[in-house]
Symmetry: C2
Amino acid sequence: MPAQRIIALDAMGGDHGPEVVIPGADIALVRHPQLEFRFFGDEAAVQPVLQRYPKLAARSQIVHTTVVVKSDEKPSQALRRGRGSSMWLALEAVQKGEADIAVSAGNTGALMAMAKLVLRPIADIERPAIAALWPTVTSECVVLDVGANIGASARQLCDYALMGAAMARALYHIEKPTVGLLNVGVEEIKGVDEVRQAHAWLKETKDLPIDYRGFIEGDQIGQGVVDVVVVEGFAGNIALKTAEGTARQIAQYIRAAMKRSLLSKIGALLARGGFSVLKEKMDPRRANGGTFLGLNGIAIKSHGGTDALGFASAIDLGYDMADSGLLTRLTADLVSFHGKLDAAVGK
Amino acid sequence: MPAQRIIALDAMGGDHGPEVVIPGADIALVRHPQLEFRFFGDEAAVQPVLQRYPKLAARSQIVHTTVVVKSDEKPSQALRRGRGSSMWLALEAVQKGEADIAVSAGNTGALMAMAKLVLRPIADIERPAIAALWPTVTSECVVLDVGANIGASARQLCDYALMGAAMARALYHIEKPTVGLLNVGVEEIKGVDEVRQAHAWLKETKDLPIDYRGFIEGDQIGQGVVDVVVVEGFAGNIALKTAEGTARQIAQYIRAAMKRSLLSKIGALLARGGFSVLKEKMDPRRANGGTFLGLNGIAIKSHGGTDALGFASAIDLGYDMADSGLLTRLTADLVSFHGKLDAAVGK
């Protein structure tokens, strides 16, 4: 029997608040009927929506708060003002062991700052990262960091490798996930000392719980050459957004191309089965949710503008991670790696 | 009457050498019948191919050399060994005023290093950049730096803005191109001081020959929100490769989706007019060629694996740039900007 899990949800986060969060939870409940939910937010806004979903309501509690983190609030502001907010309380439920995972579609910067403060980094991780699921031609891969931090030291890049591997292990059930380090192809240009040092450490350190495959380039991510792609957060965020933008751009091309003649329109109609498969493949909702990795607890960031199906994917992602015992294993892996690294660099 | 232009071509560069370079030049000659060509390379390899194109042969000279820069050669090696190579001589022809532009499909790092040494940076540019043409839903834009350098100071990012604007002006005939600075969306995270400082300077400096629009994110590049996108070379290279990879990935999805049922196959057949428009839109050969900007001369890098049509696009690009008097104008713009900047920072 699948384990009982309690999901803490920031009911007020995202562009649509309870109107997306609650239907999203209802979809997740159909997939995993043993789940229970805690909705953190304004009871007056949450209760009327929840009533429309009686099965979900029967397995839910509302924890009332009127404090809400705004989408344009700076992380520092949110930390000052937002203790007791729906976002904060959802994270706190995980920290107290009252919930297994927290999901919010709210302000990313604020969620990151609060998650760091409430859940605390594991082992001696210096910086948690945000991991994204990236669709590939074969299936999908984990890419991190996609924007928690700008820049990363060699040691942090190695930490990302282990953190991403823990996530890939949880989601894809591979004991030693393959890992690639994102780099540029031109040789002998200066400035990527951190990337080169991380490469050396990942290659040389013995008995790492990963299958390190060396450098990869941006065009290889979508080909599914590795399970985990490691990159510092500025380039990682730009890569993710660029891929999303390119997919949207091509979808626009396709729509325009299929409307240009009567024959194309008829053809597109006949091929609509094929197009719906394509649409599903390119559906950003399937891979909704960035995961904060490196914290003592699982916190998932859903896209702010997603719909119920997308929000349900974010819950699913957290569920799979909680179910795998990821945190215990990752903590042990990081402690072991840092021990080896400190020995190697003569600390 | 269009101006007479002489094109210096590294006949030995790229995966296919003269077999692509010469047919590529032949296509360019059809488009611009007033062009003349200098092919630098091994006469024994070049002559037999050139003979197959009598019209082109009548407007071409071969400059013989057996020295060739290898595709896996490091830039430092190429500089030591490669003076007198087909790549070097093509660049030298531009430097001596014997040709208007040089095009090579050879080793990027070597070409960059040689171009810097032979053509020299203009004004007090610290670092030349590589600019790429990026297809957008409306038309295309210029993105730089896509990999000449890793990292960039605030001043260098501003230089890139002016350099990209000069290129956009030449290609799109817009007097004040719109410019965006690529950044990540999360606020108040540390480390992008250079980007923020460049943003301030571009916003505050009076009478710049650009229409500065502020920060943009990766997903906006393909939407054509600006004519010029500025980013340091590591993230820029990753963004470019990621977009190329995503386009290839989606093309694979489309092919698979259209083969999944008989109805889809028939539909795809009827819609083949639409698909061919789509294919053309997504054709990487249309935007072939990275341009080295910031040098006293125009040097174009074609993709190493491109075909004749792609190589012809790279020649076209160089032709348009040479035709616009870009270098004189850019030099003046840079000198003026540096003067204002030095005054502003109290130098």
